[in-house]
């Protein structure tokens, strides 16, 4: 048991720098979710039911725009597709665990839990307690996300309604996208998705968003394959 607790804390420590980076996002999410019209309960519980930062931001934005639920769910699916990749990448290291552990660690498998976990496994391989590292990294992020959401909801309620807070979400997305635009396929993917989003904006049910995202993904992938 001792080595398991030790490995758990090792995971928490490895996660720590990421917690510092994620905390402000939780604050911003909590504050904006209320502003977009979500109830306090929905805003808080989304952080444990969906538990995926970018998908929660996108959901908040789409609720604000009164998009239909089916489109929001579809968009969550597209935004979170990358988690299948993390799942595939960690699968060989988790194959001997019980179903209970697989369910728990899958629930906690975010971008930020995946990163330190895969580094640990690639360096040290499977040890009898190594899944406790994933648990430590994942759980500390989960806890941090719940607390920062709550604090954001609390602070958000104090912000006057006259502030153009709805614009903070697109600004958050700009801050997220800019560092990703490191090469031509990425830039063209972003620009083509943006152009299609403008051209297809009047399509019903916010379908323009899905069409635009798919266009960007296909264009980026084709450009990369041709290189």
């Amino acid at each position: 048991m001792r080595s398991e607790i030790k490995t758990f804390w090792e995971g928490v420590r490895a996660e720590f720098p990421l917690l510092v980076g994620v905390f402000p996002f939780g604050l911003i999410y909590g504050a904006l979710a209320l502003n977009a019209g979500l109830s306090t309960a929905a805003a808080q519980l989304m952080s444990s039911i969906v538990f995926a930062g970018s998908a929660q931001f996108v959901t908040t934005q789409l609720v604000h725009e009164a998009a239909p639920g089916v489109v929001i769910v579809l968009t969550i699916a597209v935004v979170n597709l990358r988690h299948m990749l993390y799942s595939a990448s960690l699968a060989p290291y988790l194959k001997n665990l019980s179903l209970k552990w697989k369910v728990l660690l899958s629930y906690l498998l975010t971008d930020e839990a995946y990163a330190p976990s895969i580094i640990k496994y690639e360096r040290e391989g499977i040890t009898p307690s190594s899944h406790w590292f994933v648990f430590g990294a994942g759980f500390s992020l989960w806890f941090n996300w719940q607390v920062s959401t709550a604090l954001g909801i609390f602070l958000g309620a104090a912000i006057p309604n006259s502030w153009p807070l709805d614009f903070a979400l697109p600004l958050t997305f700009i801050a997220m996208v800019m560092p990703m635009l490191k090469n031509k396929p990425m830039i063209v993917a972003a620009l083509s998705a943006g152009m299609v989003a403008l051209l297809a904006y009047s399509l019903p049910y916010k379908l323009g968003l899905i069409l635009a995202a798919l266009t960007g993904i296909v264009v980026g992938t084709i450009l990369e394959e041709r290189k």
Partner: protein, 107 residues
Amino acid sequence: MNIWLVMVFGGLITFGMRFSFIYLFGKFEVPEVMKHALHYVPPAVLSAIIFPEVFLPNQQLDFSLNNHRLLAGLMAVVVAYFTKNTLITILAGMIALVLLQIFFVSF
């Protein structure tokens, strides 16, 4: 659809994707092209949201200097490029928008 249903379905799909290969290990292999395609999901989805927000402030294309959201958005792009800091980017864009709205009602 009710927001709670959206959250439950969104949560189930998210969990399903995280659980997928961990559960099915050994039965499937991720196709190479899908791995590449996944890199383009975040910039594509986020840009698809950003563009209408800055170019269509009143559901109409507006490339003029009267479009405060476009100017504030450009400010954020520049600040994000140089600082790579989320909070500073949001603050710069918000301050730009508030100042534009106060001082330039319209040109």
